[in-house]
Every structure is written in C-alpha cells, then in structure tokens.
C-alpha cells in the first residue's frame, strides 16, 4: 500500500501568491519503510545528508530502535533514488539497539561519516565511517571519547580530494568550563584519521557552553562555527545568560591558532559576539504548553553561501527579555562575520528547531517548527513545519508549510518529542531536509502532499501492519523533503 497523495489546491494557491515559490517542485516522504509498517517508535530528532557526488544517494537518522531486538547495532535510513523510497540499514554500532544523538554527513567518494553518542554508553562520542552506506557492514569507529554531548558532523572536501571532517560537540570535560569544541580531522578517508579537539571558547563561562556547536564549511576552506556561550557567574541557571558567538577559520582549521580569524571588537578575543546577554531557557521536561517538547538550549544554526564565503547566515532561539515565548531569530553577515545585520531578518515566535541552508544561487532557506496556536490547551496545539526561502538576502521570505500535525497525539514517550534539532541542506540549487512529526495519514496535514511507504489509508486515516489489516497506532515519524528549485 504505497500511497502518494497530493492536495494540489494549496500548492497552486501558494504558487500564485508567492513568486519565490513559483515552479518549485516539493516532495515529502514518510521515511519509515513498508517492512516497518508496525512500528510505533518516537522517531524524533532527525538528520539528513545528500551525497554531493551522487544526489540520488541520501542517508538519514533519527531516534529509531533496531526492530530486531539486536542491541549491537542501530539503524540509519538510506535511499538510492533521491529520497523517493527509504530502507533502514542496521549499521551503527550500539550497546542498546539505539543511538544517542546522531548526525550524518557525506564526504567525497561516497564516504559517509557519522557522529553519535553510542547507545547504552551515556555521553560517549563515536565518530563513524563507511564507504558503502547500503552495505550490511557495521560502520567503522574512527574516534571515541567520553563526556561529550550533541555531536554534529559537517564535511568539506579540498581540491585535492581530502575530506575535512568537523564534529561540533560540547566537551563537558574541557578545562575551565570552555566546552565548545570541534573534533576535526584533515583527512577523513585514510585508514586511521588523526583527530584534534579544537577549543572554540576563549572566554570564561558559568561553567560550560551550551550543547549545540554547529559548523558551516565552504569549499574554499572557510569554516564557521556558532555556539551559545553561557556567561558567568557560576552556577549556570535557567534562563541562561548567553552570548551567541561565531568563530571562523580561513584554512580548514589546519594551522594554529584555529578558529581565531574572527575577533570581537569589544574584548579582542576570538569569536564575534553577535548578540550578547540574551536569555536561553533550559527546561528539560516535556512541556504541555509547547507541544510536549522541551527547551534544552539546542537551537542554533549556521549556513554559508556556497558562492560567496563572506556571506553567512545564523539562527538562534531565546526567551526575549527572559520570558516566553521561545523565539527564533535569523541574521546575516556579508563580511565574513565581522558585522551583522542590526536586527533580525526574520523572527518567529513560539517555534523551535531552526535550520538554515543556502543554495548555489544564493537563495537562503529557513526550516523551523512552529507550535500553534500559542497559549491553547495541548489537545488543540499543532506543530507546523515551515520552510521559508528568500532570494533577496533575507529581506523578504515566502512561506511553505510542509506539515501541520497534532502536537498532542501521540503522547510523548521520551524527550525530545519531535527533536532538539532538524536539518536542511542545499545541493546545487535544490534543498533537501528532514523533520519529525505525527504520522496520522491525513492529507490535510501535508499541504504539499506526501508519500507513505508504510501501510496507510488516507481515507480512513489509519495505519496498518504489513498484513494491511491490523491497525497501528499513530507515532512520530521522520519525514524527508526535497524542494527542486527552478
């Protein structure tokens, strides 16, 4: 029961009203394969990567359990047809059949890299690699160390074909509470890559930096990173007094000092403080006032224009003035991070999971998930997944809703409910991304249309096991999307 449904009316209206959307082809696919039609897991916090050498090859991840009960491996999602269909491949080393935080990124020559907190091993960072992501062989372990949080992988490839691999992470064992870190190798494809833990934080903190450290890599060797600096004094308390800091390296971080090319005019230290002393909440429990999601200060994003390494966009989340609602902000720099737009290019209230990407034409895309309506009981709340795109450097934005799903069904089984992050990337002129949402097969929930591989009946709005008749409860699934630009 492979179902492709498209509700054309909203799409046509959008096309008519939003010039930036004209002729873009949008594909949304539920990534759970047919053989997993019975699954009811909370497949949240997804990630995605497109093979730059072959965009038909795409890999994804989520908090997805190995359905065989095996504890030694956990699955990733793989596609070899541009995301039209997906297969789960149990190749991530694990101790409990799941991963902790996980991100994936292709390098060159079909090499796929992964950063994960090894399932069943707490805050143990594993950096992984495979040269054949559809093979059954378990990914090989390139690096392992403890006390690390939220590994987020990016790659770049030199003109000579060397894979530079950057794993942004929060190294909670770093000295003096300066925990923002990038684990980096300059040659990812060799048998045993050499790794360095590059410290980003030159300033004092309240004891640590925030969990998310994200990088953006340009082919000319420019590498940016963004992180939340938690300001002194100690102890760190919510809402956290925070600076949003951007660092830059101009040569793949291959020479010391690394990530020191950008300094702040206030103190002369490495790292431009883009906004200072904002308040970021850290409330690590499911919030009925926010679609069952939590606030764990994990929402920064950065993207560099592939046609101009001086142009970079950032996004972050905070409590403006120290109070709700959780609010997303986007800004831009055109001079390598030295100066930034004075105000937000766009501000989104009561939303989470900001993610940015810039395509080969300089069009910027902003993916996020909006909890709406604000202030209503949980039963009436929705999660709207939006992609906004701008062709004029963020002055004006169109708006495309990929999903509008219940925020109350299913009930949360663990946190994060939909994830502490999502992902979007550009491949040439096109955008590819992933988000997690309730999988109720209701066409009205997916304004751009949707394809399910798992057994679903959109008329009765029911899910079924592989037998096609036994009902299955709704759950959180990962959804792939692709926007083919004109």
């Amino acid at each position: 029961m492979n179902v492709k449904r498209t509700n054309l009316a909203p799409l046509l209206i959008a096309l008519a009203l939003l010039p930036g959307t004209a002729w873009a082809q949008v594909t949304v696919v539920n990534m759970i394969p047919n053989a997993q039609s019975n699954e009811t897991g909370q497949d949240s916090e997804p990630n995605l990567t497109v093979n730059p050498g072959n965009p038909l090859q795409i890999a994804g991840s989520a908090f997805t359990r190995n359905p065989t009960g095996a504890t030694t491996t956990a699955p990733i999602f793989v596609s070899i047809n541009g995301g039209s269909t997906w297969t789960m491949n149990n190749i991530v080393p694990s101790g409990n059949g799941m991963t902790g935080d996980i991100t994936l990124r292709f390098g060159s020559a079909n090499f796929l890299y992964g950063g994960t907190l090894r399932g069943g091993s707490g805050l143990t960072l594993n950096v992984l690699r495979t040269s054949n992501f559809t093979a059954a062989s378990t990914m090989s372990l390139l690096r392992s160390r403890s006390n690390v949080d939220q590994p987020y992988v990016q790659t770049g490839t030199t003109a000579g074909g060397l894979d530079r691999v950057f794993v942004g992470d929060n190294d909670l064992a770093a000295a003096s509470g300066r925990t923002a870190t990038v684990d980096r190798t300059l040659s990812g494809k060799v048998a045993t890559p050499t790794w360095s833990a590059l410290r980003l934080e030159p300033r004092t903190t309240c004891g640590q930096d925030g969990p998310p450290i994200r990088t953006a890599v340009h082919p000319d060797g420019t590498v940016y990173a963004i992180y939340y600096r938690y300001r002194p004094p100690s102890p760190c308390v919510t809402p956290l007094a925070t600076d949003v800091v951007v660092v830059r390296d101009d040569n793949w971080s291959s020479t010391t000092p690394t990530f020191a090319a950008l300094t702040d005019p206030g103190d002369g230290l490495a790292g431009r403080i883009v906004v200072s002393n904002i308040r970021v909440p850290f409330i690590n429990s499911s919030q009925s006032t926010f679609g069952q999601e939590r606030f764990v200060s994990s929402n920064v994003s950065i993207a560099v224009d592939p046609g101009n390494s001086s142009r970079v966009y950032i996004a972050w989340a905070d409590y403006p003035g120290g109070v709700p609602p959780y609010t997303l902000h986007v800004r831009r720099s055109d001079d390598r991070g030295v100066t930034w737009t004075a105000g937000d290019l766009i501000t989104i209230v009561n939303a989470t999971n900001p993610a940015l990407a810039v395509n080969s034409a300089g069009k910027v895309a902003f993916l996020y998930q909006l909890n709406t309506p604000q202030g209503v009981p949980l039963a009436n709340q929705r999660w709207e997944t939006h992609v906004r795109r701008s062709t004029d450097l963020g002055v004006t934005w169109n708006d495309m809703i990929l999903a509008n799903t219940s925020a109350s069904a299913p009930a949360v089984t663990f946190i994060p409910y939909i994830g502490d992050y999502v992902h979007i990337q550009a491949q040439g002129k096109d955008f590819y991304g992933v988000f997690s949402a309730s999988n109720l097969p209701n066409l009205a929930n997916f304004p751009q249309g949707v394809t399910y591989q798992r057994n679903a009946n959109f008329t009765t709005q029911q899910l079924f096991r592989t037998d096609g008749v036994t009902p299955v409860a709704v759950s959180i699934d990962p959804f792939f999307f692709k926007i083919v630009e004109p």
């Binding site: 997993q36 949240s44 359905p67 070899i80 297969t87 059954a136 690590n284 939590r294 946190i415």
Partner: protein, 264 residues
Amino acid sequence: MNWKHVRMGLALLAILGWAVPGRAQSPAADPLRELTKAADLVFRGTVLKPGAANLEIVEPNDKTAVVRVDEILAAAGTLDDFTGREITVFLRDASAKAGEQGVFFTTVALLGESLGVVEVGRRGPEVPRSQVAAAREQLRAEGVRARMEASGLAVSGRVVSVKAAAKADGGGVITEHDPQWREAVVEVRTVLRGQLAEKTVSVWFPGSQDVMWAQAPKLEAGREGTWLLHRHEAAGRGPVWAVLDPQDQLSDEEAGIAGGGTTP
C-alpha cells in the same frame, strides 16, 4: 525465599531439559543453539529465485536469493510477521537452488519494501519449531544468569520510598542528558546475589525521560520486583547501587530463572 520464582524456574528448566535434544552436550557444542544465538530471525523458507533480490538497494548476485517465508520459527524485537512474504537473503554461499527448502538462521540487516537478511546458517526443513524455541529459552535463561553474575547485588523486594537523589553526580553540568538521579529505598525480601546485611537497600536510578534514560527502570513506591544492581560512582557521594539497563529489572519469569536466594 521466593517460592513463586523458584517454582517457575524449576518448571522452565524442566521444560528445557525435555525439549532440547542432546542435552548432555555442553551448550557451546550444540550447533543449533549456536545458530539460534547468532540469529534474530529464524524461519522455514523456500528458495524461489536464486541470484535475485527484491530490495531496490540490493544488487543481486550469486549469493543473494529471494526466499518465501513459510513459517517463522523465531523472531526477536518488534519485527512484524513476514509469514508468506518474499524476502531477500544474503546467502553464505552460492549453493541455493530454486525450490529448495530449509530452516534459515538469519540476522536482519535491511528493512525496506521487504526484508534483507544475512544468513548465518541453514538446516534442513525438518527442524521442528519446538527445537528452536527450546534453544531460545535456554539462551534466555543463560542470559538472565549471566546478567545476574555480572551484577554486584541482586535483590527481590518492594520499593518503599523514592526521592530525588542529592544533586552531586555531574557536578552541576547542564546537559539535556542529565540522568536526574532518583533514589529508591527497597525493602529486600530475597538476596539473589551478593551480600546484604540490612533489610533495605538504597537504589539509584535515572528519573530522566530523556531518550538516553527513558528505558531505564523507573522505581515507584509500592512496586514489587527483582533488580540486578551495579556499583555506580556518584560524584561527591561515592559508590551507590544503581539500576540503569531495562534488562536489569527482571520479569517474574526471569526472576524465577535467577533462582532462590537468601533472606537478608
């Protein structure tokens, strides 16, 4: 003495003894047991198309075959029922012939429009379901005993109170993966492993609902059970007894396998 558990354990062992042929052999010498141990999907099947595959991402070769699942003999986890469906088998060798029947011992590698399973061994189609089931039960019992042996203290009893543990572990670090330790006092009825002089024991467990800890046992006041406890170094507190792995909270049946024990 928890006689309910003892009786269940004896009954299970009796079943295993009757059901497993060649029980005089050492477990490691039983090839069917070893195959069952290595497999997470065991099925009776018929080879339909040697050299073929029915998963798009699989390139067919002489070591792949499309096989019809005639009967599931053992399946682990939450795998759906694939009886009657065709799946792709990565064969150990290229010897499969169309129409050939057998019992396939496999691990599940791929889940797409169908299954892709890796053959770890094959036996003739005459292997009875009961033989595989008995091997799995034996393995499960061995697993429970091994887990108990690996624990520092194993107790049966009742949770009398639960409170937040003193905030020491982690030293105030802010992470979404904070275990949010909680401390339960368990009134011990039986000690299955280790030494315990007192009639109660303090047990730490992660109270967090974060993905890293959500599966960990959550002890609640009034709950009866059996737990396999491990030493955990809590910063500023020293070693405490803790339970983290969901497999360390035993079902009644597993507790029966674990055996009798002593009264503290």
